[in-house]
């Protein structure tokens, strides 16, 4: 009996804090989901129990697709995130490879510069950048955000890959060099294929950052046809003081799902990316 009692106590002490954190983390998502399928009569009733749905309905989703450009915004968001992630990975590799693999004067300075640029927050740059984008006549084009997102993603990818590249042993490359391969050949044929896990980590992390971006999209994209999901939801589903909560929550849930699904396939890579900066340095 004593051991049984101890086991229960240990289970409570393990699970209580875990479940508490899980509850806090997931409550807003539960609330999004449940609001999005409640009819308005339940949403704005003070008598119905707010925590459950009595008569579920898909009306808010139907309205969302019929009265807004939500699908188009989703497409824009994906397109921008994928293209800017791809650009950032390529430029990040070009920056990280020499820094990680070749001894040359100035390497240390560039590495510090990369870290510093990564830490420059967008609010410091958005006003001058807005002027630059206007002068380039790129306002209200997806090109505006495809060009500006990599300003934060390139230093990030470079920094993450720099750490990853340093963990790959040198022997294969040295052997290739001795066999007469040029540096470019060694990098492309021998080195880069070894680094796929690093690319997935950097890519998945950059992708979620790009999905999350709001400030540049808010400033550069003011036409509904080019908006991304966050900007579209804020600018077009909130009209003055009128809130269509059912539609808003449907949009918030649908907007969260793509990134959550992609993330769920690559959790380990994502966590590796998240912790590499702080733990491995």
């Amino acid at each position: 009996m004593i051991t049984g009692h101890g086991r229960i106590e240990r289970a409570v002490r393990t699970w209580l804090p875990v479940l508490f954190f899980l509850f806090v983390a997931l409550l807003p998502f539960y609330w999004m989901a449940i609001t999005s399928i409640k009819p308005n009569s339940e949403l704005y009733s003070l008598r119905a129990n707010p925590l459950i749905v009595h008569v579920p309905t898909l009306k808010h989703y139907v309205d969302l697709f019929n009265t807004t450009n939500f699908l188009l915004w989703t497409w824009n968001t994906m397109l921008v995130a994928v293209v800017s992630t791809a650009i950032s990975l390529v430029l990040g590799i070009m920056l990280a490879y020499p820094l990680a693999r070749i001894n040359f004067p100035g390497a240390g300075l560039i590495a510090i510069g990369v870290a510093a640029v990564y830490l420059v927050p967008q609010p410091l740059l958005f006003l001058p950048l807005a002027d630059v984008i206007n002068r380039l006549d790129l306002g209200n084009t997806l090109t505006a955000v495809i060009l500006t997102y990599p300003t934060m993603l390139v230093p990030f990818c470079a920094w993450l890959l720099l750490g990853y590249f340093k963990t790959v042993p040198m022997e294969l490359e040295e052997a290739a060099r001795i066999d007469g391969a040029s540096r470019l050949q060694t990098m492309r044929r021998i080195f880069l294929p070894l680094c796929t896990p690093g690319f997935i980590s950097a890519g998945i992390f950059a992708f979620t950052l790009a999905q999350n971006e709001f400030l540049y999209a808010l400033i550069f994209l003011t036409k509904t046809s080019v908006r991304t999901v966050p900007v579209g939801v804020i600018s077009e589903l909130i009209k003055g003081d009128v809130f269509y909560w059912g539609q808003l929550m449907a949009a918030a849930l649908l907007g969260s799902i793509p990134v959550a699904i992609i993330y769920s396939f690559f959790v380990e890579h994502y966590v590796a990316g998240l912790t590499s900066g702080a733990v491995k340095g």
């Binding site: 804090p17 875990v18 983390a25 609330w31 707010p50 240390g108 640029v117 950048l129 999901v229 929550m249």
Partner: protein
């Protein structure tokens, strides 16, 4: 046989090898700088140039879509006499400091909770990270609805426990609005702390705990004298990162309160946005944004040097 003695002896200087582009390109430094040139040019054009152009703008009186006139430090002087600006400074520091402390303590608790052995650990860890990966704007909209005074979950639950009607106006009262943005920022940032510190915890060798236990250390002592000192470098770096991005936060406040009520939640970024984009005074807006720089610069230099030392 007309072989000359010098040739036999091999002392005739060999003809200089012709310059080969391939070999030149293959030299370490040449290859490196050529490879890095495109990303460096990109960053110089879209981070470096805007940065210095922003400094230039801050010295101009520059209404939107009109040529600017140089006014020297007048924007900064105007700023210093603007009571709202000083309120923004206060707000930003309160927001950053309180949210960071909450995230640090909460994140440590989360990491310790997750460092135990239990079933479904990987799935639970993945779910715990959701607040951090879901677009901030979307989760903030959900919180906005949760905090709705009349119809939503927070106040409905409060009233269930006997809170008098009407419930607190979370986003309408200056103090409550500040509390709300701090709590939501903490909710979003907590997983970043938790999962990073968890990774740190897993690198602590178990022998150290065993040795401490044999020496008679209690649970608290093991935490205080073994875990905490070993985690310290990670806590430091995570905190510096988090401070920078909390200090310069924009999305959460823009969506939830727009800086209101009466500027009670306005931060540097939202105030610079209001002035630069809302009232179209690019110069003054740039000056407000640049006012972030001294505090940020200290942090950025500290982190860059620290990362350099570690690598």
């Amino acid at each position: 046989m007309a072989v000359r003695a010098e040739e036999l002896a091999g002392i005739v200087p060999r003809p200089r090898r012709p310059f080969s582009l391939g070999e030149w390109l293959d030299r370490g430094a040449v290859f490196s700088w050529l490879m890095m040139a495109p990303p460096i040019l990109f960053i110089a054009a879209l981070v470096g140039y805007p940065f210095f152009y922003g400094i230039f703008l801050s010295l101009e009186n520059r209404p939107v879509a009109q040529p600017g006139t140089f006014v020297g430090l007048q924007n900064f002087i105007k700023e210093a006499h603007d009571p709202v600006f000083w309120q923004v400074v206060r707000n930003t520091f309160v927001y950053t400091i309180v949210a960071t402390i909450l995230k640090m303590i909460g994140g440590l608790c989360l990491a310790l909770a997750m460092n135990q052995h239990f079933k479904f650990k990987n799935i639970i860890r993945a779910l715990m990270l959701l607040p951090f990966i879901v677009p901030t704007v979307l989760s903030t909209v959900a919180f906005m609805w949760m905090l709705d005074p009349a119809f939503s979950v927070v106040n409905r639950v409060l009233m269930e426990f006997g809170w008098p009607k009407p419930g607190p106006s979370w986003l309408g009262n200056p103090v409550l609005a500040m509390i709300s943005i701090i709590v939501i920022n903490t909710w979003r940032g907590l997983p970043f702390y938790g999962i990073t510190l968890l990774a740190g915890l897993q690198t602590v060798p178990t022998e150290l705990y065993e040795a401490a236990t044999i020496d008679g250390a209690s649970g608290w002592h093991r935490f205080r004298y073994v875990t905490l000192p070993l985690l310290q470098p990670i806590i430091l770096i995570v905190t510096l990162f988090s401070v920078i991005f909390t200090f310069a936060d924009f999305q959460l406040v823009y969506v939830l309160t727009h800086g209101g009520p009466q500027n009670a939640t306005a931060l540097f970024a939202t105030y610079a946005f209001d002035i630069g984009m809302g009232s179209g005074q690019l110069g003054l807006g740039a000056a407000v944004a640049l006012a972030m720089l001294p505090a940020l610069a200290v942090l950025i230099v500290a982190i860059s040097l620290y990362l350099r030392k570690k690598s």
